[in-house]
Amino acid sequence: MILSSKATADETGASKSNQHKLVIEAGRANRQYWADLWHYHELFAVLAWRDIAVRYKQTVIGVAWAVIRPLLTMAIFTVIFGRLAGLPSEGEAPYMLMVLAGTLPWFLFSTALGEGSNSLVSNANMIRKIYFPRLISPVATMVVSLVDAMITLGLFFVVAAILGFLPDWRIIFLPLFIIYAFVAALGPTLLLAALTAQYRDFRFVTPFIVQFGMYVSPVGFASSVVPQEYRLLYNLNPMASVIDGFRWSLLRGEAALVPEYLALGLGVSLGMLWLGLSVFRSVEKSFADVL
């Protein structure tokens, strides 16, 4: 039994109709959920491409937004935390660069969360009219944040070159931390996307979470300023270890990377991912009825 309603190009005539059999039953768990998801990978790619293609259409300065946002955040946080509050940087690293290295994963996380959790509502007309595994919608939308992150990374290199503090060999670990940031965003995004579809209250909750998270995560300050007794609590937020990881790999290891906290953050992320996925899957069948 091949669970698929997708019309594939079928020139060889190898897969003929009697192999395609679909059973729809009340309350039936889709046993081939993940195979079905893979079947729709082209749609996933197309939707991600669409979101990227239209992100900066009908804007005046276009992609420059992906540069301006982190640049301004960097300037403000450097002034407030570095100058006015006089907080120390991570080791030898210039404060400005340390902030930028934290802004990068934070924007990756917050853009993914913000856009992804709203994606079911913004794709409502598609969801009401066509079948596809609903998981595709938030995840494809989240891909946009990766593109923005790449642009910010380019900005980081420019600023690092100007300040004479370019990364060393540790940068080869950066891709792993990018994946980590994405996974950390995935769980909460799926949870919020499912909840936003059912209860629009969460449209107001998400921006609040993003705003709140920016202060409990070390975006504008270094993790080293957090007192030792609060470290465990502080590291329950996966973004703390994500940002520390980015700083470690981008700032020549000036920021300390504590394996225990990294493991804790990863554990919390995977727990959130499990929670997000199970909530999403339990309500996704009713999306067409509630959107």
């Binding site: 698929s4 309603s5 997708k6 019309a7 594939t8 190009a9 079928d10 109709s17 009697n18 395609h20 059999k21 679909l22 059973v23 729809i24 039953e25 009340a26 309350g27 082209e42 749609l43 790619a45 197309v46 939707l47 669409r50 293609a53 239209v54 259409k57 009908q58 794709n123 007309n125 598609m126 969801i127 009401r128 009219k129 066509i130 079948y131 596809f132 059912q198 209860y199 909530v279 339990s282 309500v283 069948k285 009713s286 067409a288 009825d289 509630v290």
Partner: protein, 412 residues
């Protein structure tokens, strides 16, 4: 044995929950508003904790949009689904397309399905025509390779070569629809599910679409077609399925089912439910060629009525004219349990004697509702009107006209 069936449906049911507000839903005192708000918030939070759907209202009613539906559709058959508004046609298509899950029952589908419940699903206005072909194609289930192979044919069929690299927001609505339909038309499924999307585009394009649908049906594909347009159902389908109040009440040759449908539509109750609104219509044709309509609307809760039209239709449910009530009174109108009664006197081109249907289109709380067959309009032969021709050949209207012989060339 099931090899013969493209679709087999057993005991299918789909339940929705609808909330109603009692006493017009509006609290009378501040205290009442507080307790009521608190109570409903409590229920909502309880529902949310269990990830259940939110339903607003004091009283929650279960509504079976489909109930105990058994149906077998043979491979290669072209099936038309007929039924009045709210009979469950769209719900059936949605369940078959896997958009929504059934509450009960089982469906077996053998073969690749493509469902077309809307033209241009997912079209993005900022993207060009070409980009939208890839987007829409992927949404409908075509692979990238397949689209690349067919793109020239798609563009050609739509007739938009010149604008293919222009964002579709600059398209006229006709071009937009043609492009969208063209993508869908080049799907190559074994089972095609179509919901009234043919009611778009100009006449020439509609003919093109009909021809394509017929070709599909003749080439052994299974086609499932929902339409209000009885003429296209007659043209395209071999088998008819009659749905009434969520149940299948007839399956058979299309002509027979259409006749059955028209009979059931003929014993109209003059009353129809349009969302929360109950509409009562009475129509009377006069011998002087004018028509009088009486319309009464009530709602069990407070509803904002922003549009209201009477629709007069002919034998094939084709629209003859509408009587728009936009300027009759101030819109939006706050409709409640007290009925709104209107009398509409219509003069102008007289209808040829015969039987017509009167329906209502309205927009309540921003949502459109329509029922084309609420009351009958019997038009009698006009007094003092002389003609040799029987009503069948005289078309639909009889306008006033005068003839003057402008020039007569004498034959030499």
């Amino acid at each position: 044995m099931s090899e013969q069936n493209a679709i087999k449906i057993e005991g299918l049911g789909k339940k929705y929950l609808i909330g109603h507000n009692l006493d017009g839903g509006r609290p009378k005192t501040f205290r009442e508003a507080l307790t009521k708000g608190f109570k409903s918030a409590l229920t909502s939070v309880r529902n949310m904790a269990q990830l259940r759907q939110l339903v607003a209202g004091d009283e929650i009613e279960e509504f079976w949009a489909l109930k105990d539906v058994d149906l077998e559709i043979k491979r290669g058959d072209a099936v038309g689904i007929i039924g009045r508004n709210g009979a469950g046609k769209s719900t059936l298509l949605k369940v078959l397309s896997r958009i929504t899950e059934p509450t009960a029952g089982r469906i077996e589908i053998t073969g690749r399905v493509a469902s077309l419940l809307e033209v241009g699903t997912g079209f993005h206005p900022e993207l060009t025509g070409r980009e939208n072909i890839f987007l829409n194609g992927a949404i409908l289930g075509m692979s990238r390779k397949e689209i690349q192979r067919k793109i020239d044919r798609i563009i050609d069929f739509a007739g938009v070569e010149k604008f293919i690299d222009t964002p579709v927001k600059r398209y006229s609505s006709g071009m937009y629809v043609r492009l969208a339909f063209s993508v869908a038309a080049h799907l190559d499924p074994e089972i095609l599910i179509v919901d009234e999307v043919l009611a778009v585009g100009d006449a020439a394009f509609q003919r093109k679409c009909h021809a394509l649908m017929r070709e599909l049906a003749n080439s052994g594909k299974t086609v499932l077609f929902v339409s209000h347009n009885l003429r296209s159902l007659r043209e395209l389908c071999r088998t008819g399925v009659l749905l009434e109040q969520g149940q299948v009440t007839g399956v058979g040759p299309i002509e027979q089912i259409i006749d059955r449908y028209q009979q059931t539509a003929a014993d109209v109750q003059s009353v129809a439910r349009l969302g929360a609104i109950e509409a009562w219509v009475k129509a009377e044709g006069r011998e002087d060629g004018s028509n009088v309509f009486r319309l009464s609307l009530t709602a069990r809760r407070r509803v904002s009525l922003s549009e209201l039209c009477l629709i007069v239709t002919g034998k094939d449910e084709e629209r003859l004219y509408i009587l728009n009530q936009q300027n009759s009174f101030e819109m939006p109108y706050d409709l409640g349990p007290v009925s709104l009664q209107l009398r509409i006197d219509q003069t102008g081109p007289a209808l040829v004697e015969g039987s017509y249907m009167v329906g209502v289109y309205l927009k309540a709380d921003g949502k459109p509702y329509e029922d084309l067959a609420i009351a009958r309009l019997e038009v009698p032969a006009r007094k003092g009107f002389q003609t040799f021709y029987p009503p069948e050949v005289r078309g639909v209207v009889e306008p006033e006209f005068a003839v003057t012989v402008a020039a007569a060339l004498e034959k030499q």
